[in-house]
Symmetry: C2
Subunit: 260 residues, 2 copies
DNA sequence: ACGCAAAATAAACAGTCGTTTGTTTATTGT
DNA sequence: ACAATAAACAAACGACTGTTTATTTTGCGT
């Protein structure tokens, strides 16, 4: 550390590092089956039978998702999360181990459904025609990422934004999480695209997939830039409209002549 | 502030706010003409005639550009910057007023040249043919942003990444800075695109411009994602290759049939 | 030669950071 | 009924945050 200026923020802590009471993921009972209750008492809350308000763990996840998306990992303190979620500060360490663990837990619950839905739609497109239609492939790739954000049953637009934010960050942890969650899925789609466009060399497919990712992330990020530029006429948070414009645009790009 | 959890990071400081010794931008001599020297002495450094190493101000800008790009505004502390730049901590307050002021100064020196070069190339394209060729417009828009990062005379790839990062962030300050620097230029290009594609309705042009921005920012961010997916075959930091693939891809998208 | 402003410095300020500790209460298995 | 454990809590830890103060050294105009 003394040998330059390697650490940009200084390590958060080191100390004696007795691991002490770990969060339940590493506990015997483990399994993270969530009880439902919340009571302003000192110890463990009384179990309220059923259908009570969301548990501490869930409230943390919900708030963290929203704040991380809005201000970025480094832009949000744990106290901001615990205050808004009305939980104790130490709860985060208890349930998730660390701030990074919280981010991983966030992706663990959301990423898999998206990736699965993608593959389901892709398989469906392959059934309909062989080779599958280009537009159908693009739709299968993009739709789950975008509509999940519009679906109130899931986290709303928060996770979509968060993913877009991490997608553009070169930070090690974020990139590792994203890769683990989506690389396999992405590779499958690159293959499908190559199959659907036999005249386009692999290298061109890859470049075009890169541009596809950029357009997708930028739409998901919903930075407000294009709204400002067009007086609100163009609004990326309108998911249906975004897909309606995006898929033909990208399809035309993918079908264009190879650059050699 | 007490009324909820509005502030995500807690205000950095407040105090009595006597404005004290302001940074030179607000000083009589002002004009920010940069002297050249650096000496490990207490007060003002001895002037070393000419062509010495870059001034304190410039070293701060250079290091801040790189670190902000890599870790984001909130991910970098002022001490990380001053340590690596080998300057005193208070120098940032002296030269730029605040951390935000530093970011603004960074854009102030880099954004204008990019925007100007864009308009120059656009005018050039308009001279050659009327209406200008679509590919020429896209090239005029994209090239300055990308090649500036490859040009060692400018800040190298740091500013490019920084811009991409801010481009996806909905933070107020970042967005205001970006808007001020590039909105005017973007509007001109939307007009030019509309002129060059009379059959495509304005709304479609705007959506497609949005996708163009996404592809551009994602290329500029150079997150490493596509390299990982393609075993390094596709590399966005290869600016020439990026432009060669990007412009035909986008042109085909822009020329596709309107979605109505 | 002298004064004054510019530019640099060390040190402190008032908080916030992520994490850890020790304790208390409620639930569960036997 | 009773021990074990899960889940909550207040409080503290040391390090780091952006900013300010007071001081010192230097350069330039007069």
């Amino acid at each position: 550390m003394k040998t330059g200026a390697a650490n940009v923020r200084g390590k958060p802590r080191a100390r004696t590092a007795t691991k002490a009471r770990l969060h339940p993921a590493k506990t015997q009972r483990g399994k993270v089956e969530m009880p439902l209750a919340v009571k302003p008492a000192r110890g463990r809350p009384r179990k309220v039978d059923n259908k009570a308000e969301p548990s501490v763990r869930e409230r943390i996840l919900e708030v963290a998702e929203r704040l991380f998306a809005e201000y970025g990992m480094t832009g949000v303190g744990l106290r901001a999360i615990t205050t808004e979620a009305k939980v104790n500060l130490a709860s985060i360490a208890y349930h998730f181990g660390s701030k990074d663990g919280l981010l991983e837990a966030l992706f663990a619950q959301r990423a898999a459904p998206i990736a699965e839905e993608r593959l389901r739609l892709l398989a469906l497109a392959c059934e309909k025609s062989d080779p599958p239609k280009l537009e159908a492939i693009l739709d299968a790739f993009l739709r789950p990422s975008l509509v999940l954000g519009a679906d109130p049953r899931f986290g709303g637009p928060a996770f979509v934004k968060l993913r877009a934010r991490l997608g553009n960050e070169p930070e090690t942890l974020s990139r590792k999480i994203l890769s683990k969650a989506f690389d396999q899925s992405s590779r499958k789609f690159i293959d499908a695209l190559a199959l659907s466009l036999p005249k386009v060399p692999r290298a061109d497919i890859e470049w075009r997939f890169h541009f596809l990712l950029g357009a997708m992330f930028y739409t998901m990020a919903d930075s407000g830039r294009i709204q400002a530029l067009t007086n609100g006429r163009c609004d990326p948070s309108d998911v249906a409209a975004a897909l309606r414009h995006m898929i033909p645009f990208l399809a035309a790009g993918f079908r264009s002549a190879p650059v050699a």
